[in-house]
Amino acid sequence: MNSDKITKTVLFSVSILILMLAAGMLYSLVGGAIPAFKEFGLKFIFSGEWNPTEGEEKYGALPFIVGTLMTSFGALILCLPLSFSTSLFLGEYFRGTRVARILGLLVDLLAGIPSIVYGLWGFYVLRPALIEIGFGGRGFGIFTAALILAVMIIPYATSLSNEIISMVPNDLKEAAYSLGATRLEVITSVTIPNARSGIVAGYILAFGRALGETMAVTMLIGNTNQIPTSFFGTGNTMASVIANQFGEADGLKLSSLIAIGLLLFLITGIINAAGKLIIKKMN
């Protein structure tokens, strides 16, 4: 065997190994979730009850699905104005300047900060600040979690949209300028429409991150197991309920937590695939 062939074989085996790892994970998740689905059927997904009292155990994922959607959408909405203006600033107004490079680096740096650090900051700085401005419930809740999540997903939303915005061909912008357009008109009629799908993909990927983000959310969301009634109330996300309860869980409860994990796995998988598909379609 020549070295080329060996390299090929090794690389191939490694990729197969990774594929098997993912398949194995999915397999054990499904296996672990089966008892919960056997007990509650599909109602598991739509039931809002979470009762661990022995003898009358009942588990449903709805409170956490709702909590996840509320925090993630909330984070998306909160992050949108910030990251959108930042990406326009970096990709259009100050494209190629030193200011843009430094700011771009700082934004990317945000992505590298571990979740637990955001959580600590949220717990000891953000939460007291919210209480200060008259926030009830000791500052915990969906809104607090969404706020910290928004900061965490800004780099993901920003760096992709900034990249796509700065890739809009210069001669298209010049064509618009040559027709007498102002800078704002060029941005709204040429830059944004041409970068639209990339910007959307950026936000979808950021949303995917928000769905699964665990540590900081667990520390701030208040960890209650009812369907959240308001954006400012407490709750739990799919990820945070697992982090919060897996240590003391066994039997049906553990299986229910694993089933929630499986659902989260599927949802984030679909969201990420959708984002990547849009990016692929653009090229």
Partner: protein, 259 residues
């Protein structure tokens, strides 16, 4: 005969000591020239001599970039272009680029009318329809696209796209159309269509055309500028320049010694 008529035409554009520098390095030096109304004026010269740089000064495109500085004056119908707002000026000076660049997110119809939309000029639908049809007829594209006006302009062939871009520049009825090697990305058939078009368009417009192609300049231009290393070497009637160049550098270029 035609030459004597051309002789009396008034200048629509006059440049006085125009110099343009990239990062303080001059690419165009002290160009003074008068361009006459309803003519095709070709700007010729070897690569890098400053043709595009000069052309883009005329609609103040350079002001989009901080590293480019312009000195001197330029007048459009006697009015200093640097006293106008660049937005207004650009409506009087259409521009066609080297590579066809229709807006990919817009339909053929919207591309033609883009100038109005971008400037937020409100027009009635009937008026818009007329502008689109007139502009597309002007560039002899109407018959080819009238049934697909609402398809994307990027589905057209390269030559059709370039004519669409010319239509887009015409829609505003500019006085001058600036063209930077508009046929260099086109095949010979599409090129000759665009050339025929330019000859026809000069009845209503003034065309300034940067071209690498000497036979193109000879075929369709009335006047020619020859530039070398950022300087205007020679300016005159195309016929005279091709038959009897004054400057030895012009002669060398025209006989293919460089460029």
């Amino acid at each position: 005969m035609t030459n004597t008529i051309a002789e009396v035409k008034k200048p629509i554009l006059s440049l006085k000591d125009l110099s343009i520098a990239y990062d303080k390095k001059y690419a165009v030096k002290n160009v003074s020239v008068e361009i006459k109304k309803n003519t095709v004026t070709a700007i010729m010269g070897p690569s890098g001599c400053g043709k595009s740089t000069l052309l883009r000064a005329l609609n103040r495109m350079h002001e989009l970039y901080e590293n480019i500085s312009t000195e001197g004056e330029a007048f459009l119908n006697g009015k200093n272009i640097y006293d106008m707002s660049p937005i207004k000026l650009r409506r009087h000076m259409g521009m066609v680029f080297q590579r066809p660049n229709p807006f990919p997110t817009m339909s053929i119809y919207d591309n033609v009318i883009a100038g109005y939309k971008l400037n937020g000029i409100r027009t009635k639908k009937k008026e818009r329809d007329e502008i689109v049809e007139r502009s597309l007829r002007d560039v002899a594209l109407w018959d080819e696209v009238k049934d697909s006006l609402f398809k994307k302009g990027t589905f057209l062939s390269g030559g059709q796209q370039q004519r669409l871009c010319i239509a887009r520049a015409l829609a505003f009825s500019p006085e001058v159309i600036l063209m930077d090697e508009p046929t260099s990305a086109l095949d010979p058939v599409a090129t000759s269509k665009v050339e025929d078009l330019l000859v026809k368009l000069k009845e209503n417009y003034t065309i300034v055309l940067v071209t690498h192609n000497m036979s193109q300049a000879a075929r369709i231009s009335d006047y020619s500028l020859f530039m070398y290393l950022g300087e205007l070497v020679e300016y005159g009637k195309t016929k005279n320049m091709f038959t009897n160049p004054i400057d030895p550098r012009t002669e060398e270029y025209l006989t293919g010694k460089f460029g």
